[in-house]
Symmetry: C2
């Protein structure tokens, strides 16, 4: 809070106080000289927890995780255009997860910009493409009002990252005015007409399928989905989603396959595809001679709202309209036996199913090992699973950090590929500093394994030594135990299923960050 | 080289062969699925050394170092918009260093773009602000011609990074056509009229100063500067420059101070400022109540060409015009005594002056410790000093990697702050894989020390616990020895000047990468 003895707020103080008034409780920061007044404004604001990140991509990944769990956008503090660029890949990912996020980007003082000092760049140009909303607070008296506007804009109705540029003079000058506490826009609701039309289409179809995402993946949404399932509708989630409730006591929908040919084979015969909280499924990448759009020929597509829509409400209304009263069964709790032998992604999943406590949060950036760990946890204790939705690997550990700070009483499990983890390994340091209760599992195969698969799928030919080198991250092998302990996170390596199972039990029992280097086949 | 038995080149093969024909010899890469055909094209091109980087900012920092030393742009291989964003801060830095660089950015196949798959982004929008030139090779038959165009465009005449977008179908389709071997544009030459005008202005001035950068910092440029100095002209370099020859046998100009108030005090009394290879000096950041432009009142400014100009030629022509035949003395070789006692940036500099071999390359991202290490090396064996010019820290280790691969017979010394080093620590892994002959010195003070200074200079007030936490990177302290060895680079810690001196002698004697964690006061 600003110093009560002072007559006036600085622009930075007005901005920070406005965000706090609106319910923002965390700032993930990597400041520079132009943000010093923001730093001292945060210093005086006890309602916002300021978390230093040693690389900006950690800050935005953490803000994403924080908002996915708390429902409230976090603020980030970024240092000019260069800071925005470092932050950018996880802003892209947050956009694809429809996560609200308020990126506050420091800039030079307005009169300084004309001189093109070394750190000057076209921040609005750089940040524009991945910002739902972007404005620059070029006058000190605007900082509060624009903070309110940024907060509301981040909720959409299709939520996402917004950019608020703060020139240094607007931060340091007095004359700041707090902005209003604003009502954030809610998700859209589907009209009764559209619900009736969907029910009628389903009644006429032989093989209807609903692809669901967004709030449909919450417990109420999945309950409605279970009713629709009993009424004869196939329920599929997108391959990647921001967060889903799963495990014992929860209805488990099917998940669309990642590889396009698998998804297409799987959807074959569907004559009606309803989209609830998502858009028509497309191949993640393009491949020579393969289709992009994953809708079978002759299948009607009916849109029941995209990511700007409250899809849980859509499904509930649809189930009501269809008088679908009986729900398909929920998953029961099954604790698998302790796995033994070679350590694989599947045995990792088995151990997770054994040891994950009730209400755990999972951050999945496991790339080629993610799915095999995912499947065995379907009957674990109830939990939330969060995924990389934007395809820019290096999100898992930052997301886990932010999720943990949003819910300090929940255990967070992070699954990361070794290639993915290297992008943002600095997240480990912030986990250690903040005492984040995160168990990170790194799948160590010394390889961009997914690319070894994709090399063949794209028909790019037989890899020679150079190509093999570009897809291998061995030679030298990274020692993840050393890497983790160098940043203050205790770590162990596991090379067998038994070792991993014991290490996971230990890590989950211990509060605070831990890392397990899970050596799996390459 | 493309398979001679094949009738036709793929677009990727045509692109890669064209760059190789034009003299590009290195590609710093972080590929994804959409770049698989580029990977196999590189596989078949023995003239280009492909270097995997585990984070894209390492790739572009290395490309910058490669070009600063070799004079030839390197190619980078980046994965869509997200890869560009990760690469972006060191592209910004390369732009500010006027380094030619060819960023090849993979994109989805053109027909796939309309479906807005998860990794789709407005790459042209993101990359535009920091690209001298940007085109997308949307047709396979264009890839070679656009590669030629990109190569030439990277030379300017003001050199810098260019962006060539390569949709996956343009890469995989056959029908690629190699582009021409092109003549890269040269730097501009200043006209005789401008030289005469400068000579006349100097003759009339009482306290003329020339601010130099660019090719003026080469040995011939500095020779001309030494002649001008004897003729009564003060010679100052910019605070930060891409590369300068210095040490024994070389004329040492003064260097402009970083802090604006120091620079202004120092320039006081100058009545003529000539700019050669640079633009008028400005404060790096803006501060309340302080000027941005560092030109004393009443001082005339005369532009003798900016970064697009061959400033070595300008200085030589000016010295000739002024009949300045006698050159100021060059530096003599002084080997300091072994330092003792507490380890400081200054004693690090002393040890460098003792042990740096002839013709070493220094990559300086030492932030608050850079200058104190710089000064004692003025009388070391002749070497080239390279600096961070764009202000986005995290360039030092990548730059050293690229410099070393461009000149494998020269020892590279990298000076990095610990905060700076954390941004792109993945560079260590590529140094280990490539056997790069780099000795990295990390100044370990567990602090963003420069920001502790800037907090006071900006008048942002007394730091409370939150602010202190935002400027400290201790708690936990990073163990740089572990971090380095985790990625395959042998490392030691030095806590006294004696320890450091011995460690440096060892590291320099050993070929290949080494790291010294130099614990200095915070």
């Amino acid at each position: 809070m600003a110093d009560p003895l002072k007559d006036s707020l600085t622009g930075a103080e007005a901005l920070v106080a406005t965000l706090a008034d609106n319910g923002v409780t965390a700032c993930f920061a990597n400041p520079g000289t132009s943000e010093m007044h923001l730093v001292t404004a945060l210093d005086g604001e006890p309602r916002i927890r300021s978390v230093l990140c040693l690389f900006e991509g950690v800050a935005t990944g953490a803000a994403d995780g924080y908002a996915r769990v708390s429902g409230t956008p976090a603020m980030t503090l970024l240092h000019l255009g260069a800071g925005y660029l470092n932050a950018g890949a996880n802003i892209h990912n947050a956009g694809r997860a429809n996560t609200p996020m308020i990126n506050v980007i420091g800039d030079h003082a307005v009169p300084h910009l004309q001189y093109d000092a070394p750190l000057t760049s076209d921040i609005a140009g750089l940040a524009g493409p991945n910002s739902l909303w972007l404005k620059s607070a070029d006058k000190v008296e605007e900082t509060g009002a624009l903070a309110s506007e940024a907060y509301a804009a981040s909720f959409g109705p299709k939520p996402g990252p917004v950019s608020l540029l703060l020139p240094a003079d607007s931060a340091w000058l007095e004359g700041g005015v707090k902005g209003d506490v604003v009502q954030a826009p809610s998700l859209n609701q589907v009209s009764e007409t559209d619900i009736k039309a969907a029910a009628e289409a389903i009644a006429k179809a032989s093989n209807p399928v609903i692809i669901i995402n967004g709030t449909a993946l919450s417990e109420p949404g999945l309950q409605a989905a279970a009713r629709l399932k009993t009424a004869g509708v196939r329920i599929l989630t997108d391959t990647f989603y921001a967060k889903m409730r799963r495990g014992a006591g929860v209805f488990a929908p099917e998940r669309m396959q990642y590889f396009a040919e698998g998804a297409m084979a799987d959807l074959e015969g569907s004559d009606l595809m309803i989209l609830a909280g998502t858009s028509a499924p497309v191949a993640f990448f393009s491949y020579p001679g393969k289709p992009s759009l994953l809708v079978p020929e002759g299948c009607d597509v009916l849109e029941l709202g995209d990511a700007s829509t409250d899809s849980a409400q859509s499904l509930t209304a649809l189930a009501d309209e269809m008088d679908a009263s009986e729900a398909a069964p929920v998953e029961s709790l099954i604790e698998p036996d302790a796995p033994s032998g070679d350590l694989t992604a599947q045995s990792v999943g088995q151990s997770l199913a054994r040891h994950m406590p009730e209400n755990a949060l999972v951050s999945d950036d496991g790339v080629s090992n993610g799915l095999l760990s995912y499947l065995p946890t379907q009957n674990a204790r109830a939990h939330d699973w969060m995924m990389l939705t934007g395809g820019a690997i290096g999100q898992g550990m930052p997301l886990a950090l932010g999720a943990s700070l949003a819910a300090p009483d929940r255990k967070v499990i992070c699954l990361s590929g070794d290639g993915a983890g290297m992008y943002t390994n600095q997240a480990l340091w912030s986990m250690a500093r903040e005492g984040a209760d995160v168990t990170t599992i790194v799948f160590v195969n010394h390889s961009y394994r997914i690319l070894n698969i994709e090399l063949y799928r794209t028909g790019a030919g037989n890899p020679g030594p150079t190509a093999k080198n570009m897809l291998s991250i061995g030679g030298p092998d990274i020692d993840w135990v050393q890497l983790s302990t160098s940043m203050g996170v205790p770590a162990v390596e596991a090379t067998t299923a038994e070792e991993f199972d014991a290490a996971l039990a230990d890590a989950i029992a211990a509060p605070g960050p831990r890392l397990i280097a899970a050596v799996v086949p390459g």
